[in-house]
Amino acid sequence: MIELRGITKAYADGGVPAVRTLDLTISDGEFLVLIGESGSGKTTTLNMINRLIEPTAGVIRVDSEDVLAIDPVNLRRRMGYVFQGAGLFPHLTVAENIAVTPRLLGWPREQIDARVDELLNLVRLDPAQYRRRLPRELSGGQQQRVALARALAAKPKIMLMDEPFGALDPLIRDDLAEDYRQIHNSLGLTTIFVTHDMTEAMLLGDRIAVMKDGALIQVGTPNELLTHPADDFVKALVDTPKKRTRRLAQVLAAAP
């Protein structure tokens, strides 16, 4: 269980805080989507969970343990992290990229090798074919699959994902998102997933947390958001996929 209590991120220049006294609880095995416009504070919130950004106030607990009291480096090795643009290490092969965190944790070599193959199979890349490739020899979708495998390498229970499929073609994007949702289920992961695309949020998320101007506006299942939007902003957000679905149905009905 991940608990955020009164989390705030203010910057020294004294402007409006990026995140204001935010409370949020994510239960084990849950797929929570953080959604909002750019500048809403969703990425900042995500990055505070593995302390890539340090909160200025508040408490974060993972399984009742105070995250702010432990070494951030060890914390990050326990969580998977995927972000837009993959961020693969260009000088390392696919296998070496995936092996990074296990190697930092001092796993034995044979165990790492076996884990790399297991993960490549999991993200549906043939190990024999891709192990020795360099990132620049892969397509964008393949790079993002490797980034996903890298994040999963050290068997984290928690996955933090910051618009991981945002830069991909729609076809590849849906493919990957579906694959990931399956991995989430089969491995029993807890995932916090940042996006600005409500359709993606509704298709993937168990619950959706809507952020605006650094504050949490509403948290609920897709159904709850559709039926009981907290305000006009949430209503406008959920209307978009609704309208698109309706229009799509009309187009499909008109087809011969």
């Binding site: 890539l52 990050r76 972000f83 290490f89 260009p90 000088h91 990074v100 930092l104």
Partner: protein
């Protein structure tokens, strides 16, 4: 062909020093620049300071930078001597090493900082995200990614250092520059060319090997990196081999020479004589006039030939002229008392500053002495070597005769004679033992007021060897053994444009003359 053979014979010695100096300077430079660049890449303030400093160093002419380190080190050495009871050699390897180290810094600093700051933010973000510490991120991600660009900086630095190391010769460090400086001085173009080609060749070879390493880093090819490292090890090993092969044995005697032909010839004579007496010798050629005496007094050199008038005016600050014999006696006493340096004696000839004109010009103006010259000086041009106009003798002459010339020009000694013969200047500060005075039939102007002191060639020995009887015995036969006509002939052998001999050949001839 003779010159080529001589040049080839010197190659093991010159090349090994050149490589040792360049490699040490580069290694020391990297040891400083790389950590500095890594820290500076994260601090705007330090970045500005480090790059600014390295750029300023780069704007100092390299020869001046090398030369500056000698007095600085001399002062530090004297301080450590006084404070802690030990000194170090301020001449030779150390000043050259430090200057070249500074010189190597800019390209490495600039490339490393640029490369580290140019790494994609997403990659650095990923390094943090996967749980790397800042140090792990630096060594496992940032430096490997920056390596090819850093390597390119190291290549630039290597080529600069190998090229600039030729300028170590005037601060008393043997290098491939010995060919160039000796060659320029004696107009031995085979030597100059040999020096240039060997230094450039070395630079090209090292650059290609480092380029291979750079490719290896960029392409992650271990084979290339291994080949490059092996190549570097072989080049450095082969170059340094003669140094280790000749190491050991008896203590070596260091012979110094100033930067003109007579000195090179006498340096060879000293080396031959000491070698015959069983001493191992090394040379520090082409040293500046005041540097050379300081070096001897500090035991950086063991023996060299100076001129009594030079010591008299610049060291003892005397302006009187009590006569050749009295000057020698007083210099001998002064040397022993002040520095512990031994004056072995005079070689038998004088190499005095002598103002000379073309005889046709002197005749036309009816000029026979410096006193006569004073009348015409405001309309005349004078040429001097690099030292004369800043020496006390010049001030004494100017004062005694009220000389003031229309134009004052400085020349490398050989070119000064050419300038006089060609009419570019009207008077030059010649040297009385120079064979070209007779060759060109120059008129040497008299010094009726005795403003110039005598300039007996004198043999000086360092404090360490002042009581070394074997050394003194080996040198004794040279005292009073060389007549003015003999040294003039020997000098002319090297200076004349046709049938030119090397200083070594002239030294051999001079030795047979001395033996007669």
């Amino acid at each position: 062909m003779n010159s080529f053979g001589e040049a080839w014979g010197n190659l093991p010695d010159f090349l090994s020093w050149h490589v040792l100096l360049s490699v040490s300077a580069l290694a020391l430079g990297l040891l400083i620049s790389l950590p500095l660049a890594i820290v500076a890449a994260r601090s705007r303030w330090l970045r500005g300071a480090a790059l600014g400093f390295a750029s300023v160093i780069q704007t100092i002419p390299s020869l001046a930078l090398l030369a500056l380190f000698y007095p600085i080190l001399l002062i530090i050495s004297q301080f450590t001597q006084d404070a802690f009871g030990f000194g170090f050699r301020a001449l030779g390897f150390l000043p050259a090493l430090l200057a070249l180290t500074l010189y190597s810094m800019l390209p490495v600093l600039r490339n490393t900082i640029t490369a580290l700051n140019g790494i994609e933010p997403s990659v650095k973000m990923a390094a943090r995200g996967v749980g790397m510490t800042p140090r792990q991120s630096l060594f496992q991600v940032e430096l490997p990614l920056a390596a090819p660009v850093i390597m390119a900086g190291i290549r630039t630095a290597a080529v600069w250092v190998i090229g600039t190391a030729t300028l170590a010769t005037p601060v008393g460090q043997t290098s491939l520059g010995n060919y160039i400086f000796t060659g320029l001085q004696t107009e031995n173009w085979v030597f100059v060319l040999f020096g240039v080609v060997s230094a450039a060749g070395l630079a090209v070879v090292i650059d290609r090997l480092l380029a291979l390493a750079e490719d290896g880093l960029a392409l992650r090819s271990d084979t290339r990196i291994f080949a490059a490292l092996t190549g570097l090890a072989v080049v450095i090993g082969v170059s340094l081999y003669p140094m280790f092969a000749s190491a050991g044995g008896e203590r070596t005697v260091t012979i110094g020479t100033k930067s003109f032909d007579e000195q090179y010839i006498l340096g060879n004579v000293l080396a031959d004589r000491l070698g015959a007496a069983g001493f191992a010798t090394t040379r520090r050629d082409g040293l500046g006039s005041t540097v050379i005496f300081r070096a001897l007094a500090a035991n950086d050199l063991d023996v060299y030939v100076d001129y009594s008038g030079t010591i008299w005016t610049t060291e003892m600050h005397r302006s009187d002229a009590p006569g050749r014999a009295a000057v020698l006696t007083q210099i001998g006493d002064y040397m022993t008392k002040t520095y512990g340096v031994r004056l072995v004696g005079g070689l038998g000839f004088e190499n005095a500053y002598a103002f000379a004109m073309r005889s046709d010009k002197a005749r036309a103006l009816h000029v026979n002495s410096l006193a006569d010259l004073a009348l015409y000086a405001p309309r005349l041009k004078i040429g001097g070597d690099f030292e004369i106009f800043s020496r006390p003798e010049w001030r004494a002459v100017v004062k005694a005769y009220g000389l003031k010339f229309a134009v004052q020009r400085q020349y490398q000694a050989n070119l000064m004679y050419n300038a006089l013969v060609a009419g570019d200047v009207d008077v030059i500060s010649a040297f009385s033992s120079d064979g070209r005075i007779a060759q060109y039939g120059l008129k040497v102007l008299a010094d009726p007021k005795g403003a110039l002191p005598p300039y007996d060639a004198i043999l000086l020995v360092s404090p360490n060897h002042a009581n070394d009887s074997a050394l003194l015995k080996a040198l004794q036969p040279l005292i009073g053994a060389i007549r003015l006509e003999t040294i003039q002939k020997a000098n002319l052998m090297v200076d004349r444009p046709e049938d030119k001999q090397s200083p070594q050949q002239a030294a051999r001839w001079l030795e047979t003359e001395i033996a007669r």
